[in-house]
Amino acid sequence: MSKAYGWAGSILRVNLTTGVISAEETSKYKNYIGGMGFGYRIMWDEVPVGTKPFDAENKVIFGAGPLTGTGMPCSGRTNITSLLPSNPYHLITDSHMGGHFSPAMKYAGWDAIIIEGASDKPVWLKIENDNVSIEDASGLWGKGTFDTTAEVTKMMGDNTHVACIGQAGENMVNLATIMTGKSHSAGGHGGILGSKKLKAIGIRGTKPVNIAGDRSEWIELDKYMMSLIGANNQHVVPNSPQPWAEYHNPGSRWTGKEGLYWGGANPPVETGVCDPHDMNSVGLRTQKGVFDHGPLAEDLTVRMGGCQACPVRCHSQLKVSKLKDYGFSEYIANTCMGYFSPGGIMIKGWSDGEGRGEVALLGRTLGASLADDYGVWCNYGQIGRDFKYAYEKGILEKVLPKDEYDSIPWDKLEAGDPEFLVDFYRRIAFKEGELSHLGEGASWVSKRWNFGEDFYTDNAYKIWSPQMGFPVHHSNEAASQVGALISCMFNRDAQCHTHINFTGSGLPIELQREIAGEVWGSPDALDIPKNYTPMNEYKAKFAKWSIVRNVLHDSLTLCNWMWPMTLSPLKERGYRGDTSLESKFLTLATGINFTEAELDLAGERIFTLHRAMTVKQMGTIDMRNQHDRIADWVFDDDPDVKPFTEGTDKLDREDMELALTMFYKEMGWDEKTGAPTKETLVRLGLSDVADQLAELKLLP
């Protein structure tokens, strides 16, 4: 085979029913870039409507992209596409994990791995470059993800990277993860591997990722990009006053400063002043332990960690000795929701009454240990709010059999004792009793236990989409209608960070608005927080661009928690970043000339295919009314205040309908229904998709 550039050139297909392992060429999918794009195209082509997530006919696609494994900054994401069991319509979604897995796929020569069919006994998949085999996993079944990874690595040797499920995935819990690298989880698709009896994929690759362009150009581009990079979430302003900084903002994740340490290192490592021009302290800018847990975490932070090729280290790696009392290693790593969601389950707070005290830190790290070893997903923190509703409304007393109810250590929950989590996660992971239906996700459990209307109308429960049962994730509180639109468009919580990275950058709002004007056509694309204005076309452009870049990143695969580099920490550039970087890297990697606009068009194609698949699965073109609805609390909060007055982030119903119309227009979708039009599908090179939808009478 001729030398491949950027892409590895081949896709691996493994049929677990027949045991047939085959390879096919990547080239036929190149219009879909990689990762998410490949996943959606393959699912569209191969998984018939009406397939249920745990059916053998469902497939799961592990996707890398043309930039994965190249070593360019923040390129370590793995995209996983399949049907989502927790979605009430079983709609297609993609879940993602960081770590080192997808780079290892590339080094083994694979752009994607398609898993199809189902084994009748536990197996794991062994991939050593071109040598691929299905192995017996009877000795692994029943183990947690930590031991599974160790066992697979023992069998394969060093440089092995493993993606696997824990007991939750084995038991086909809807809210189950696929885990890699101890702290990286992809939410919602773990049960699908369980249904296929695929415990793990171990991968060892010794091949290169070739680039078509000149190496010195690549290195110069890398250095240039490194000059524009910020801290975690591309926050470009430090958290506290710094000698080099014009601005600071306490919301920023750029926490590095003199006197702040990785205090658990021996000897401690000082984060220091982290001048943005110093390449050797980029990884010290984000002391996420302190950001997530408060000052107590400083002395427990052994180091920061994260993904392959990423200089921004966003996972805090902590030593919490008391974890040993619960049978876990004292070493634990995670970030953000991985630590926060166990706190959400502790609905009565922590025993010392402190939100960021010692007990909270122990509880959050214990919860992270349990969830990551069992492989339990939190539905972006929603499982705790589902539990809160059921507990506080007295529903659990009614729906749980008395002996089960009495066996649950409620006293520990009421007392704020972290040990409650040990009991809770075990029940979820092993599907023990009625309580474990919390593991089905908000949609299913709210129906099963007959939750009241207030579950959807009270903002305490943070449901964003009553139809899809997913929560807020950088929604109306993030750039007004922009965040709201983004949150309506996916089939699970939106994992888009393009907009929140921009608004959370720490720069003064007037400067943000000025730069917004340059990128999206008018400063009015961005509202002042809690001082919103009615919808306008620039907000629609901002929302579209945010999603297009998000899906591109999930296809290339780059981290949308860092990319795009819309802003930079450099005063001398007026804090401007460079939005053409992705296309420049891709051009150098593949040798195919991509302009920024051409690459964005590919993103539009991928996202429109996502929409078309949703239309096909739901069997309706009426996306506006059947899919894109928003919970009432978003409009009814602050009842004494009107929308678009200072001090509230509530939205207006009529204005939001207009927002949907304007967004559909930007996408070239039908302005009434929000379904992709034939014209747009053809323009995006999706004629065959249009033909299929026409046959199904699903074109507007």
Binding site: K182, T206, V269, L284, G305, Y331
Partner: protein
């Protein structure tokens, strides 16, 4: 690093005999990373003069600062080989990343690695003392000491990619590039290692012998 700075760096290096005196007497009881220990172990004194004078400086790693991003691996090969290829990287982190050197132990939770006590150990070329195992093993006599720095480098004209050097390296720091059929060995990027320049946590440094000595005596640790 400019040419002048580079030359200045090499001038600062101490002579071999001075370092060896130090390494023989004062290492015991000093807290150093595993990488440095293995480095020092390879340098017990012989005063004999040979065709392989000691390299005047070393790339050393600090496992306390390493956060496991492995940027060094791909920067090394992009810079020197024009591709991203951790397998042939002259700095090796990936193999120790999850479970530390030697892979998973039964009590892996307490051993090195991301699944263990979180210590990530980057392996660097030791630029071994004479007799240099890789050079000794090479049937083509393709490995020689570079004139200015003493760094042991592969003459790509002579190398036939037989892999004898890789098999004889006690630290498994040489890899044969199967595409090019050439041995890939650390040559310190001619005195200005790209991996160290771009390490986002300053976990890799090119250190003259004298400074290795001084740093350990002062701080009991490499880069503190």
């Amino acid at each position: 690093m400019s040419h002048e700075e580079k030359m200045g760096f090499w001038e600062k290096t101490s002579n071999r005999r001075e370092f060896l005196k130090f390494s023989g007497k004062t290492v015991a009881g000093v807290t150093v990373s595993a990488t440095l220990l293995s480095l020092l172990t390879g340098c017990q004194d012989t005063a004999s003069v040979s065709g392989f004078p000691l390299a005047t400086g070393l790339l050393i790693s600090d496992s306390t600062r390493c956060s496991g991003c492995r940027r060094c691996e791909t920067i090394c090969t992009m810079n020197n080989d024009g591709k991203a290829d951790p397998n042939i990287a002259r700095v090796k982190v990936g193999r120790n990343y999850n479970f530390g050197p030697g892979g998973p132990k039964n009590d892996f939770h307490n051993k090195a690695g991301n699944y263990g006590n979180l210590e990530i150990i980057p392996d660097t070329c030791q630029q071994c003392k004479d007799p240099v195992p890789c050079a000794e093993a090479c049937p083509m006599e393709a490995i020689y000491a570079e004139e200015k720095t003493g760094t042991r480098v592969v003459d790509t004209e002579k190398c036939v990619g037989c892999g004898m050097c890789a098999s004889q390296c006690p630290f498994k720091m040489i890899t044969v590039d199967e595409d090019e059929k050439k041995a890939k060995k650390c040559f310190l990027c001619d005195g200005d290692p790209s991996c160290a320049k771009m390490c986002p946590t300053a976990a890799l440094k090119l250190v003259p012998w004298k400074e290795v000595h001084a740093t350990i005596q002062k701080n009991k640790h490499l880069f503190a």
